[in-house]
Amino acid sequence: MSLLEWFEGLSAARKAATLIVGLLGFASLIVFFLKLFNPQKNWDELTNRLKSWWVMVGVFFIVLALNRMISIIFFAFLSFWALKEYVTILDTRRADHRALFWSFLTIPIQYYWIGTQWYGMFIIFIPVYMFLFLPMRLVIAKETAGFLASSSKIHWGLMAFVFGLSHLAYLLVMPAVPGSSATGHTLLLFLVILTEMNDIFQFLWGKTLGKRKILPTVSPKKTWEGFIGGVVTTTIVSLFLRFLTPFDVPATMLIAFVIAVSGFCGDVVMSAIKRDAGVKDFGDLIPGHGGMLDRVDSLCYTAPLFFHIVRYFYYG
Protein backbone atom coordinates (compact mmCIF):
# COMPACT_ATOMS: atom_id res chain seq x y z
CA MET A 1 0.00 0.00 0.00
CA SER A 2 2.81 2.37 0.88
CA LEU A 3 4.31 1.85 -2.55
CA LEU A 4 1.15 3.20 -4.15
CA GLU A 5 1.12 6.14 -1.75
CA TRP A 6 4.75 6.86 -2.57
CA PHE A 7 3.90 6.82 -6.28
CA GLU A 8 0.92 9.12 -5.78
CA GLY A 9 3.14 11.58 -3.95
CA LEU A 10 5.59 11.92 -6.86
CA SER A 11 5.61 14.84 -9.29
CA ALA A 12 4.09 14.15 -12.72
CA ALA A 13 7.50 13.89 -14.42
CA ARG A 14 8.79 11.45 -11.78
CA LYS A 15 5.64 9.38 -12.07
CA ALA A 16 6.25 9.09 -15.80
CA ALA A 17 9.90 8.15 -15.28
CA THR A 18 8.91 5.50 -12.70
CA LEU A 19 6.30 4.03 -15.05
CA ILE A 20 8.75 3.80 -17.95
CA VAL A 21 11.53 2.27 -15.87
CA GLY A 22 8.98 -0.18 -14.47
CA LEU A 23 7.83 -1.12 -17.97
CA LEU A 24 11.41 -1.59 -19.19
CA GLY A 25 12.15 -3.73 -16.15
CA PHE A 26 9.07 -5.81 -16.91
CA ALA A 27 10.15 -6.19 -20.56
CA SER A 28 13.65 -7.21 -19.48
CA LEU A 29 12.13 -9.83 -17.16
CA ILE A 30 10.03 -11.25 -20.02
CA VAL A 31 13.08 -11.43 -22.30
CA PHE A 32 15.01 -13.13 -19.50
CA PHE A 33 12.35 -15.86 -19.18
CA LEU A 34 11.98 -16.20 -22.96
CA LYS A 35 15.71 -16.88 -23.12
CA LEU A 36 15.45 -19.34 -20.25
CA PHE A 37 12.66 -21.41 -21.82
CA ASN A 38 13.78 -21.15 -25.42
CA PRO A 39 17.58 -20.92 -25.37
CA GLN A 40 18.18 -22.27 -28.88
CA LYS A 41 16.42 -19.32 -30.55
CA ASN A 42 18.52 -16.25 -31.38
CA TRP A 43 17.56 -13.44 -29.00
CA ASP A 44 20.47 -11.12 -29.87
CA GLU A 45 18.45 -8.50 -31.72
CA LEU A 46 15.82 -8.27 -29.01
CA THR A 47 18.48 -8.11 -26.27
CA ASN A 48 20.36 -5.38 -28.15
CA ARG A 49 17.23 -3.37 -28.68
CA LEU A 50 16.26 -3.62 -25.05
CA LYS A 51 19.74 -2.65 -23.87
CA SER A 52 19.65 0.37 -26.17
CA TRP A 53 16.23 1.32 -24.77
CA TRP A 54 17.68 1.32 -21.26
CA VAL A 55 20.47 3.64 -22.38
CA MET A 56 18.16 5.95 -24.33
CA VAL A 57 15.58 6.17 -21.55
CA GLY A 58 18.35 6.81 -19.01
CA VAL A 59 19.95 9.56 -21.06
CA PHE A 60 16.60 11.17 -21.85
CA PHE A 61 15.33 11.35 -18.27
CA ILE A 62 18.68 12.43 -16.83
CA VAL A 63 19.08 15.21 -19.39
CA LEU A 64 15.53 16.45 -18.77
CA ALA A 65 16.09 16.38 -15.01
CA LEU A 66 19.31 18.45 -15.19
CA ASN A 67 18.22 21.87 -16.43
CA ARG A 68 16.54 23.63 -19.31
CA MET A 69 19.72 24.82 -20.99
CA ILE A 70 21.28 21.35 -21.04
CA SER A 71 18.01 19.90 -22.37
CA ILE A 72 17.95 22.43 -25.23
CA ILE A 73 21.57 21.64 -26.11
CA PHE A 74 20.66 17.94 -26.04
CA PHE A 75 17.85 18.46 -28.56
CA ALA A 76 20.13 20.62 -30.71
CA PHE A 77 22.59 17.75 -30.75
CA LEU A 78 19.75 15.38 -31.74
CA SER A 79 18.99 17.65 -34.73
CA PHE A 80 22.68 17.85 -35.59
CA TRP A 81 23.15 14.08 -35.57
CA ALA A 82 19.95 13.49 -37.55
CA LEU A 83 20.86 16.05 -40.22
CA LYS A 84 24.36 14.57 -40.37
CA GLU A 85 22.99 11.07 -40.98
CA TYR A 86 20.60 12.46 -43.59
CA VAL A 87 23.16 14.39 -45.66
CA THR A 88 25.63 11.50 -45.53
CA ILE A 89 23.31 9.19 -47.44
CA LEU A 90 22.37 11.91 -49.95
CA ASP A 91 23.98 12.29 -53.33
CA THR A 92 25.45 15.76 -52.80
CA ARG A 93 27.41 17.80 -55.31
CA ARG A 94 30.75 19.49 -54.74
CA ALA A 95 28.94 22.81 -55.33
CA ASP A 96 26.63 22.20 -52.33
CA HIS A 97 29.47 22.50 -49.83
CA ARG A 98 28.85 26.04 -48.59
CA ALA A 99 25.06 25.69 -48.60
CA LEU A 100 25.45 22.57 -46.46
CA PHE A 101 27.70 24.49 -44.12
CA TRP A 102 24.97 27.13 -43.66
CA SER A 103 22.33 24.49 -43.14
CA PHE A 104 24.32 23.04 -40.24
CA LEU A 105 24.79 26.54 -38.87
CA THR A 106 20.99 26.94 -38.67
CA ILE A 107 20.95 24.41 -35.80
CA PRO A 108 22.57 26.61 -33.11
CA ILE A 109 20.62 29.61 -34.42
CA GLN A 110 17.25 27.84 -34.36
CA TYR A 111 17.88 26.54 -30.83
CA TYR A 112 19.03 29.99 -29.76
CA TRP A 113 15.57 31.34 -30.65
CA ILE A 114 14.14 28.60 -28.44
CA GLY A 115 16.47 29.47 -25.57
CA THR A 116 15.34 33.10 -25.75
CA GLN A 117 11.69 32.04 -26.24
CA TRP A 118 11.34 34.14 -29.39
CA TYR A 119 8.40 32.23 -30.82
CA GLY A 120 7.88 34.39 -33.92
CA MET A 121 11.45 33.90 -35.07
CA PHE A 122 11.47 30.21 -34.14
CA ILE A 123 8.47 29.55 -36.33
CA ILE A 124 9.60 31.44 -39.47
CA PHE A 125 13.40 31.27 -39.43
CA ILE A 126 13.72 28.03 -41.42
CA PRO A 127 10.45 28.06 -43.44
CA VAL A 128 10.99 31.67 -44.56
CA TYR A 129 14.51 33.01 -44.13
CA MET A 130 16.52 29.84 -44.76
CA PHE A 131 14.11 28.92 -47.56
CA LEU A 132 15.00 32.16 -49.30
CA PHE A 133 18.69 32.17 -48.44
CA LEU A 134 19.89 28.64 -49.26
CA PRO A 135 18.92 28.61 -52.97
CA MET A 136 20.72 31.94 -53.31
CA ARG A 137 23.83 30.48 -51.74
CA LEU A 138 23.63 27.64 -54.26
CA VAL A 139 23.33 30.19 -57.07
CA ILE A 140 26.55 31.82 -55.90
CA ALA A 141 28.24 28.43 -56.31
CA LYS A 142 27.41 28.84 -60.03
CA GLU A 143 26.52 25.20 -60.76
CA THR A 144 23.06 24.92 -62.33
CA ALA A 145 23.02 21.20 -63.10
CA GLY A 146 21.17 19.60 -60.19
CA PHE A 147 20.38 22.97 -58.61
CA LEU A 148 16.72 22.31 -57.87
CA ALA A 149 17.43 18.82 -56.56
CA SER A 150 20.07 20.15 -54.19
CA SER A 151 18.04 23.04 -52.84
CA SER A 152 15.05 20.76 -52.30
CA LYS A 153 17.04 18.06 -50.54
CA ILE A 154 18.80 20.49 -48.25
CA HIS A 155 15.65 22.38 -47.36
CA TRP A 156 13.65 19.21 -46.77
CA GLY A 157 16.32 18.04 -44.33
CA LEU A 158 16.22 21.35 -42.48
CA MET A 159 12.43 21.24 -42.22
CA ALA A 160 12.31 17.69 -40.91
CA PHE A 161 15.34 17.48 -38.65
CA VAL A 162 15.94 21.04 -37.50
CA PHE A 163 12.54 22.76 -37.70
CA GLY A 164 10.45 19.66 -36.94
CA LEU A 165 12.55 18.19 -34.14
CA SER A 166 13.15 21.61 -32.53
CA HIS A 167 9.45 21.65 -31.59
CA LEU A 168 10.40 19.15 -28.89
CA ALA A 169 12.70 21.75 -27.37
CA TYR A 170 10.14 24.52 -27.72
CA LEU A 171 7.68 22.47 -25.66
CA LEU A 172 10.24 22.65 -22.85
CA VAL A 173 10.15 26.43 -22.70
CA MET A 174 6.35 26.66 -22.87
CA PRO A 175 4.84 27.90 -19.59
CA ALA A 176 2.33 25.98 -17.48
CA VAL A 177 -0.95 25.36 -19.28
CA PRO A 178 -3.48 27.93 -18.00
CA GLY A 179 -5.78 26.37 -15.42
CA SER A 180 -3.88 23.07 -15.19
CA SER A 181 -0.90 21.50 -13.47
CA ALA A 182 0.56 20.42 -16.82
CA THR A 183 3.65 22.23 -18.11
CA GLY A 184 5.59 22.15 -21.37
CA HIS A 185 7.90 19.71 -19.64
CA THR A 186 5.16 17.15 -18.91
CA LEU A 187 3.62 17.63 -22.37
CA LEU A 188 7.02 16.80 -23.87
CA LEU A 189 7.12 13.59 -21.83
CA PHE A 190 3.61 12.67 -22.98
CA LEU A 191 4.56 13.23 -26.64
CA VAL A 192 7.89 11.40 -26.60
CA ILE A 193 6.68 8.44 -24.51
CA LEU A 194 3.58 7.94 -26.64
CA THR A 195 5.44 8.30 -29.96
CA GLU A 196 8.08 5.75 -28.97
CA MET A 197 5.51 3.37 -27.45
CA ASN A 198 3.48 3.60 -30.65
CA ASP A 199 6.57 2.50 -32.62
CA ILE A 200 6.93 -0.47 -30.29
CA PHE A 201 3.22 -1.40 -30.37
CA GLN A 202 3.15 -1.28 -34.17
CA PHE A 203 6.27 -3.45 -34.25
CA LEU A 204 4.87 -5.98 -31.76
CA TRP A 205 1.42 -6.27 -33.40
CA GLY A 206 3.08 -6.58 -36.80
CA LYS A 207 5.39 -9.32 -35.53
CA THR A 208 2.61 -11.35 -33.91
CA LEU A 209 -0.39 -10.88 -36.21
CA GLY A 210 1.06 -9.18 -39.30
CA LYS A 211 -0.23 -10.59 -42.60
CA ARG A 212 -1.52 -7.92 -45.02
CA LYS A 213 1.25 -5.64 -46.24
CA ILE A 214 0.39 -1.97 -46.01
CA LEU A 215 3.15 -0.35 -48.12
CA PRO A 216 5.13 -3.22 -49.64
CA THR A 217 7.26 -1.06 -51.95
CA VAL A 218 8.36 1.29 -49.16
CA SER A 219 8.49 -0.77 -46.00
CA PRO A 220 7.96 -4.48 -46.63
CA LYS A 221 7.74 -5.35 -42.94
CA LYS A 222 4.87 -2.97 -42.15
CA THR A 223 1.41 -4.52 -42.08
CA TRP A 224 -2.19 -3.39 -41.65
CA GLU A 225 -2.42 -5.48 -38.49
CA GLY A 226 0.63 -3.74 -37.02
CA PHE A 227 -0.66 -0.31 -37.97
CA ILE A 228 -4.20 -0.74 -36.65
CA GLY A 229 -3.09 -2.67 -33.56
CA GLY A 230 -0.56 0.06 -32.80
CA VAL A 231 -3.03 2.90 -33.24
CA VAL A 232 -5.65 1.22 -31.01
CA THR A 233 -3.16 0.30 -28.28
CA THR A 234 -1.55 3.75 -28.27
CA THR A 235 -4.95 5.42 -28.04
CA ILE A 236 -5.88 3.29 -25.02
CA VAL A 237 -2.49 3.52 -23.28
CA SER A 238 -2.57 7.31 -23.58
CA LEU A 239 -5.29 7.33 -20.90
CA PHE A 240 -2.76 6.10 -18.33
CA LEU A 241 -0.54 9.07 -19.16
CA ARG A 242 -3.31 11.63 -18.88
CA PHE A 243 -1.82 12.94 -15.61
CA LEU A 244 0.88 14.60 -17.76
CA THR A 245 -1.63 16.68 -19.70
CA PRO A 246 -4.51 19.15 -19.40
CA PHE A 247 -6.63 17.01 -21.79
CA ASP A 248 -9.98 15.42 -20.90
CA VAL A 249 -10.60 11.80 -21.85
CA PRO A 250 -11.93 12.29 -25.42
CA ALA A 251 -9.22 14.88 -26.19
CA THR A 252 -6.50 12.55 -24.88
CA MET A 253 -7.70 9.75 -27.12
CA LEU A 254 -8.04 12.02 -30.13
CA ILE A 255 -4.54 13.47 -29.66
CA ALA A 256 -3.08 10.00 -29.06
CA PHE A 257 -4.76 8.90 -32.28
CA VAL A 258 -3.08 11.79 -34.15
CA ILE A 259 0.28 10.87 -32.61
CA ALA A 260 -0.12 7.20 -33.57
CA VAL A 261 -1.10 7.87 -37.17
CA SER A 262 1.46 10.63 -37.76
CA GLY A 263 4.18 8.58 -36.07
CA PHE A 264 3.51 5.87 -38.61
CA CYS A 265 3.73 8.48 -41.39
CA GLY A 266 7.10 9.75 -40.14
CA ASP A 267 8.38 6.21 -39.99
CA VAL A 268 7.42 5.31 -43.56
CA VAL A 269 8.51 8.68 -45.01
CA MET A 270 12.02 8.11 -43.63
CA SER A 271 11.87 4.54 -44.96
CA ALA A 272 11.13 5.95 -48.41
CA ILE A 273 14.22 8.15 -48.15
CA LYS A 274 16.34 5.17 -47.17
CA ARG A 275 14.93 3.17 -50.09
CA ASP A 276 15.63 6.06 -52.44
CA ALA A 277 19.24 6.30 -51.25
CA GLY A 278 19.66 2.53 -51.26
CA VAL A 279 20.59 2.07 -47.59
CA LYS A 280 19.07 -0.14 -44.90
CA ASP A 281 19.73 2.01 -41.85
CA PHE A 282 20.80 5.60 -41.38
CA GLY A 283 23.80 4.58 -39.29
CA ASP A 284 24.99 2.37 -36.48
CA LEU A 285 24.85 4.65 -33.46
CA ILE A 286 22.24 2.66 -31.53
CA PRO A 287 22.78 -1.12 -31.43
CA GLY A 288 19.69 -3.03 -32.62
CA HIS A 289 17.98 0.14 -33.88
CA GLY A 290 20.33 1.60 -36.51
CA GLY A 291 21.13 5.28 -36.63
CA MET A 292 19.70 8.10 -34.58
CA LEU A 293 17.29 8.85 -37.43
CA ASP A 294 15.90 5.33 -37.29
CA ARG A 295 14.77 6.16 -33.76
CA VAL A 296 13.59 9.78 -34.13
CA ASP A 297 11.91 9.39 -37.54
CA SER A 298 8.39 9.32 -36.07
CA LEU A 299 9.13 12.32 -33.84
CA CYS A 300 9.84 14.48 -36.90
CA TYR A 301 6.13 14.12 -37.68
CA THR A 302 4.52 13.89 -34.26
CA ALA A 303 6.41 16.80 -32.64
CA PRO A 304 5.24 19.69 -34.84
CA LEU A 305 1.69 18.32 -35.07
CA PHE A 306 1.32 17.77 -31.33
CA PHE A 307 2.91 21.13 -30.57
CA HIS A 308 0.52 23.09 -32.76
CA ILE A 309 -2.58 21.22 -31.61
CA VAL A 310 -1.71 21.92 -27.98
CA ARG A 311 -0.71 25.52 -28.63
CA TYR A 312 -3.92 26.26 -30.52
CA PHE A 313 -6.37 24.58 -28.17
CA TYR A 314 -4.75 24.90 -24.75
CA TYR A 315 -2.59 28.02 -24.79
CA GLY A 316 -5.35 29.99 -26.62
Binding site: F80, W81, K84, E85, V87, T88, T92, R94, H97, R98, L100, F101, F104, G283, D284
Partner: protein
Amino acid sequence: MRDLIRILFFLLIVRPFMVLFIGLRVYGKNNIPKRHPFVVVANHSSHLDTVSLLYLFPLRELKNIRPVAAADYFEKNWTVSSLSHTFFNILSINRRCASKHENPLAHLEKTIALKQSLIFFPEGTRSLTGEMSSFHSGITHLIEKHPELPIVPVYLCNMGRSLPKGEFVPIPFFCEIKIGETLFPKGDRKEQLEMIRNAILALKGTK
Protein backbone atom coordinates in the same frame (compact mmCIF):
# COMPACT_ATOMS: atom_id res chain seq x y z
CA MET B 1 57.94 20.54 -26.63
CA ARG B 2 56.49 19.84 -30.04
CA ASP B 3 55.52 16.34 -28.89
CA LEU B 4 53.65 17.79 -25.95
CA ILE B 5 51.83 20.37 -28.08
CA ARG B 6 50.87 17.61 -30.50
CA ILE B 7 49.52 15.38 -27.75
CA LEU B 8 47.43 18.23 -26.33
CA PHE B 9 46.22 19.14 -29.82
CA PHE B 10 45.07 15.58 -30.46
CA LEU B 11 43.55 15.15 -27.01
CA LEU B 12 41.66 18.43 -26.84
CA ILE B 13 40.84 19.20 -30.46
CA VAL B 14 41.27 16.26 -32.84
CA ARG B 15 39.58 13.60 -30.69
CA PRO B 16 36.41 15.56 -29.85
CA PHE B 17 36.27 16.76 -33.45
CA MET B 18 36.50 13.23 -34.86
CA VAL B 19 34.01 11.72 -32.40
CA LEU B 20 31.38 14.47 -32.14
CA PHE B 21 31.69 16.38 -35.40
CA ILE B 22 32.82 13.87 -38.02
CA GLY B 23 31.45 10.79 -36.23
CA LEU B 24 34.33 8.73 -37.58
CA ARG B 25 33.62 5.01 -37.98
CA VAL B 26 36.66 2.74 -37.79
CA TYR B 27 36.62 -0.79 -39.17
CA GLY B 28 39.42 -3.35 -38.84
CA LYS B 29 41.44 -1.57 -36.17
CA ASN B 30 42.97 -4.91 -35.13
CA ASN B 31 44.79 -5.04 -38.46
CA ILE B 32 47.18 -2.31 -37.34
CA PRO B 33 50.49 -4.01 -36.42
CA LYS B 34 51.40 -3.80 -32.73
CA ARG B 35 55.06 -3.04 -33.45
CA HIS B 36 56.61 -0.18 -35.38
CA PRO B 37 57.77 0.35 -38.07
CA PHE B 38 55.16 -0.25 -40.72
CA VAL B 39 53.75 1.72 -43.64
CA VAL B 40 50.12 2.81 -43.83
CA VAL B 41 49.06 3.28 -47.46
CA ALA B 42 45.76 5.02 -48.19
CA ASN B 43 43.72 6.77 -50.84
CA HIS B 44 43.85 10.56 -50.65
CA SER B 45 41.06 13.07 -51.08
CA SER B 46 41.28 15.52 -48.19
CA HIS B 47 43.45 17.07 -45.50
CA LEU B 48 41.25 15.12 -43.09
CA ASP B 49 42.93 11.91 -44.31
CA THR B 50 46.16 12.51 -42.41
CA VAL B 51 44.38 13.75 -39.28
CA SER B 52 42.03 10.80 -39.11
CA LEU B 53 44.83 8.27 -39.70
CA LEU B 54 46.86 9.81 -36.87
CA TYR B 55 43.72 9.76 -34.70
CA LEU B 56 43.79 5.94 -34.85
CA PHE B 57 46.92 5.77 -32.71
CA PRO B 58 47.37 6.17 -28.95
CA LEU B 59 48.67 9.62 -27.98
CA ARG B 60 52.06 8.35 -26.83
CA GLU B 61 52.69 6.73 -30.22
CA LEU B 62 52.10 9.95 -32.17
CA LYS B 63 55.80 10.80 -32.19
CA ASN B 64 56.48 7.51 -33.98
CA ILE B 65 54.13 8.10 -36.92
CA ARG B 66 55.35 10.23 -39.79
CA PRO B 67 52.97 11.22 -42.59
CA VAL B 68 55.05 11.55 -45.73
CA ALA B 69 54.40 14.97 -47.27
CA ALA B 70 55.49 16.79 -50.41
CA ALA B 71 57.99 19.52 -49.61
CA ASP B 72 56.81 21.67 -52.50
CA TYR B 73 53.38 21.96 -50.82
CA PHE B 74 54.07 21.75 -47.09
CA GLU B 75 57.29 23.77 -47.00
CA LYS B 76 56.02 26.59 -49.18
CA ASN B 77 56.08 29.05 -46.29
CA TRP B 78 57.04 29.22 -42.65
CA THR B 79 53.51 29.08 -41.24
CA VAL B 80 52.35 25.99 -43.14
CA SER B 81 55.64 24.26 -42.51
CA SER B 82 55.83 24.83 -38.77
CA LEU B 83 52.14 24.07 -38.22
CA SER B 84 52.29 20.79 -40.09
CA HIS B 85 55.53 19.77 -38.39
CA THR B 86 54.23 20.59 -34.94
CA PHE B 87 50.71 19.21 -35.21
CA PHE B 88 51.15 16.34 -37.63
CA ASN B 89 54.83 15.44 -37.37
CA ILE B 90 55.21 15.32 -41.14
CA LEU B 91 58.24 13.97 -42.98
CA SER B 92 58.67 16.20 -46.01
CA ILE B 93 60.17 14.73 -49.11
CA ASN B 94 61.56 16.74 -51.96
CA ARG B 95 60.00 15.09 -54.98
CA ARG B 96 60.97 17.70 -57.59
CA CYS B 97 64.78 17.73 -57.67
CA ALA B 98 65.73 14.20 -56.73
CA SER B 99 69.38 14.60 -57.63
CA LYS B 100 72.17 12.31 -56.60
CA HIS B 101 73.18 14.62 -53.78
CA GLU B 102 69.80 14.44 -52.18
CA ASN B 103 68.18 11.07 -52.34
CA PRO B 104 64.58 11.41 -51.08
CA LEU B 105 64.70 7.78 -50.03
CA ALA B 106 67.44 8.52 -47.51
CA HIS B 107 64.98 10.37 -45.27
CA LEU B 108 62.56 7.49 -45.35
CA GLU B 109 65.25 4.97 -44.53
CA LYS B 110 66.50 7.06 -41.64
CA THR B 111 62.95 7.14 -40.27
CA ILE B 112 62.54 3.39 -40.61
CA ALA B 113 65.89 2.87 -38.87
CA LEU B 114 64.52 4.94 -35.96
CA LYS B 115 61.59 2.48 -35.77
CA GLN B 116 59.12 5.11 -36.87
CA SER B 117 56.16 4.24 -39.09
CA LEU B 118 55.12 6.08 -42.22
CA ILE B 119 51.82 7.20 -43.72
CA PHE B 120 51.89 7.17 -47.51
CA PHE B 121 49.44 8.55 -50.07
CA PRO B 122 50.78 7.07 -53.33
CA GLU B 123 48.37 9.12 -55.46
CA GLY B 124 50.62 12.07 -54.67
CA THR B 125 47.78 14.57 -54.40
CA ARG B 126 44.19 14.83 -53.23
CA SER B 127 41.65 13.39 -55.62
CA LEU B 128 38.89 15.78 -56.67
CA THR B 129 36.34 13.19 -57.70
CA GLY B 130 36.53 10.62 -54.91
CA GLU B 131 37.93 8.11 -57.41
CA MET B 132 41.43 6.80 -56.76
CA SER B 133 43.95 8.01 -59.36
CA SER B 134 47.10 6.16 -60.43
CA PHE B 135 49.90 5.47 -57.94
CA HIS B 136 53.37 7.01 -57.97
CA SER B 137 56.19 4.51 -57.72
CA GLY B 138 57.95 6.15 -54.73
CA ILE B 139 56.79 3.52 -52.26
CA THR B 140 58.23 0.63 -54.28
CA HIS B 141 61.76 1.98 -53.78
CA LEU B 142 61.18 1.63 -50.07
CA ILE B 143 59.71 -1.86 -50.44
CA GLU B 144 62.74 -3.03 -52.44
CA LYS B 145 65.11 -1.86 -49.73
CA HIS B 146 62.92 -3.22 -46.91
CA PRO B 147 60.86 -6.19 -48.12
CA GLU B 148 60.18 -7.10 -44.46
CA LEU B 149 58.24 -3.86 -43.86
CA PRO B 150 54.50 -4.57 -43.36
CA ILE B 151 52.25 -2.53 -45.63
CA VAL B 152 48.83 -1.67 -44.13
CA PRO B 153 46.23 -0.85 -46.80
CA VAL B 154 43.58 1.63 -45.70
CA TYR B 155 40.48 2.89 -47.49
CA LEU B 156 39.22 6.31 -46.43
CA CYS B 157 35.61 7.06 -47.23
CA ASN B 158 33.81 10.46 -47.44
CA MET B 159 36.79 12.56 -46.30
CA GLY B 160 36.75 14.36 -49.65
CA ARG B 161 33.08 15.19 -49.17
CA SER B 162 33.67 16.59 -45.69
CA LEU B 163 36.65 18.71 -46.61
CA PRO B 164 37.38 18.74 -50.34
CA LYS B 165 40.44 20.29 -51.93
CA GLY B 166 40.02 24.05 -51.99
CA GLU B 167 37.60 24.34 -49.04
CA PHE B 168 38.52 25.32 -45.51
CA VAL B 169 35.27 24.63 -43.62
CA PRO B 170 34.49 20.95 -42.98
CA ILE B 171 30.94 19.59 -43.30
CA PRO B 172 30.08 16.82 -40.83
CA PHE B 173 29.48 13.96 -43.24
CA PHE B 174 30.08 10.64 -41.50
CA CYS B 175 33.52 9.38 -42.55
CA GLU B 176 34.86 5.85 -42.50
CA ILE B 177 38.29 4.29 -42.13
CA LYS B 178 38.62 0.70 -43.29
CA ILE B 179 41.86 -1.01 -42.38
CA GLY B 180 42.91 -4.13 -44.25
CA GLU B 181 45.26 -6.99 -43.41
CA THR B 182 48.97 -6.28 -43.75
CA LEU B 183 50.71 -7.04 -47.05
CA PHE B 184 54.24 -7.79 -48.14
CA PRO B 185 54.15 -6.87 -51.86
CA LYS B 186 56.18 -9.10 -54.22
CA GLY B 187 57.17 -8.93 -57.87
CA ASP B 188 58.31 -6.00 -59.97
CA ARG B 189 57.34 -2.40 -59.27
CA LYS B 190 54.23 -2.47 -61.36
CA GLU B 191 52.98 -5.63 -59.69
CA GLN B 192 53.70 -4.26 -56.24
CA LEU B 193 51.73 -1.09 -56.93
CA GLU B 194 48.92 -3.13 -58.42
CA MET B 195 48.81 -5.37 -55.35
CA ILE B 196 48.57 -2.43 -52.92
CA ARG B 197 46.03 -0.65 -55.07
CA ASN B 198 43.81 -3.70 -55.31
CA ALA B 199 44.02 -4.26 -51.56
CA ILE B 200 42.80 -0.71 -50.94
CA LEU B 201 40.04 -0.94 -53.53
CA ALA B 202 38.89 -4.28 -52.11
CA LEU B 203 38.26 -2.57 -48.76
CA LYS B 204 35.87 -0.08 -50.34
CA GLY B 205 32.87 -2.42 -50.32
CA THR B 206 33.55 -4.08 -46.95
CA LYS B 207 32.53 -3.16 -43.43
